[in-house]
Symmetry: C2
Subunit: 194 residues, 2 copies
C-alpha cells in the first residue's frame, strides 16, 4: 500500500510541484484567460530614517480574492550605517535581489516539472552594481537604478547541458520579476489627500 502511494506521488509530483495540478491550472487558464489575471499587494509604513515595514497578505487571482493566508507576512527594510541606518533590516535594493533570485528559481523549477525534468540542486549568487550618484542626484546622467545584475547559478538536473541551457534561457524570458527588471514597467505614485 505504501509502495503504491509512493509510486503515485512520483507520478504526479516533480520538483516538489503537483504536476497534475499545474496541468489542470494551465487547462483552466487556456479556457478562461481572465483566470490568469492576478493582483498582488503590499502595505508599507515608514518608521524612522531608513527604516520601514511592509505587511503582505491578500491578493486577487484565479477569479477571486485569495483567502489561504491566516496571518500577515511582515518585512522590515533598513539601511547599514554607511547609508545612515542601523541595519534594521536588509535594504530595498537587496530585497529586490532576493525577489529576483526566488522568481528565477521558481520559474526554472516549474518549467522543468512541465518538461518532465527533475532538478536535483539549484542555488544562485547574485551581484547588482549601483552608482549612488544616481540616488543622491549628484549626476543626472547616472541612473539611480542597478546598472546590471549578474546571477551565477549552480544547477544539477537530470537532463543534458543543452536542455538545461534552453530551460535557463526560457526562465529568463518568463520569470515575472526578471521580466519586470529587464523591461520598462510603469510605476505610478498617487498622493492621497490627507
Amino acid at each position: 500500500m505504501k509502495t503504491e502511494m509512493m509510486a503515485e506521488e512520483t507520478m504526479t509530483s516533480l520538483n516538489g510541484l503537483d504536476v497534475q495540478a499545474a496541468t489542470d491550472t494551465i487547462d483552466a487558464l487556456t479556457k478562461d484567460k481572465s483566470l490568469a489575471k492576478f493582483q498582488f499587494r503590499a502595505k508599507n509604513s515608514w518608521i524612522n530614517g531608513g527604516e520601514n515595514q511592509s505587511t503582505i497578505r491578500d491578493f486577487y487571482g484565479a477569479g477571486q480574492e485569495d483567502m489561504s493566508r491566516t496571518s500577515d507576512f511582515v518585512f522590515a527594510n533598513g539601511e547599514p550605517p554607511v547609508l545612515l541606518g542601523n541595519n534594521e533590516g536588509a535594504n530595498p535594493v537587496e530585497f529586490l535581489l532576493h525577489a529576483l533570485a526566488g522568481c528565477v528559481t521558481t520559474t526554472i523549477v516549474l518549467h522543468a516539472a512541465v518538461r518532465g525534468i527533475t532538478i536535483r540542486e539549484l542555488s544562485t549568487e547574485l551581484e547588482g552594481n549601483i552608482d549612488l550618484q544616481g540616488l543622491l542626484g549628484l549626476d543626472e546622467s547616472v541612473s539611480a537604478g542597478y546598472e546590471s545584475i549578474k546571477i551565477r547559478m549552480h544547477i544539477k538536473a537530470d537532463c543534458s547541458d543543452e536542455e538545461l541551457d534552453d530551460l535557463l534561457s526560457y526562465a529568463h524570458g518568463h520569470s515575472p520579476v526578471c521580466t519586470t527588471v529587464c523591461r520598462p514597467i510603469p510605476v505610478q505614485i498617487e498622493r492621497v489627500a490627507a
Copy 2:
C-alpha cells in the same frame, strides 16, 4: 545639559537621518566618485517546489567591503496554494513590491531631510497587476512581468502641497528600485559548470 543635547539632535537630525552625516557623504562622493560605486549581493538556495531561501549580509560600498553586519538576513520565498505552494513565505513578486515601497519611502525621507522638510507620516499601499499567461508561456505576446504598479501614498509633511508633489516626483526618478523597475536593466544568468 539634557536640553542642550536635545537641541543639538534637533539641529543635526531630520526624519531620523543624520543630516550632517548625509552632507559629509555627499561631499565625499563629490570629491571621489568611485566611493559611490556599490555592489549588493544575495545568495539563494532552492528548497522544494516554490520554496527557496535567501541569505543577505555582505556588500561593497564607499570604497570597501562593509563589515557592519554581524549576522545574515534570511528570507523565504514561497507560493500560495493557488500557485502550487503552501504559503511558505511571501512570493517573489510580492517581495518586489516590498522592495519598491521601501525604496520610494527612504528616497523621499532622505531628500526631504536634504531639503529641510520634516516628514510627519508616510505610508503606502501598492498594487501590481500581472497576467500569468506570461509566466506560463501560454501567450508569447503577454509579458511575464508586472503590467503596471500603482503606489497610493499617504504623506504628511511640514511643507506646501506643491513642495510635496515636487519631492514625490523627484523620488520617483531617483529611487534605485523604482528606477530599476521603470527602466530596462540587463540581467545575466551564468550557469556555473558543476
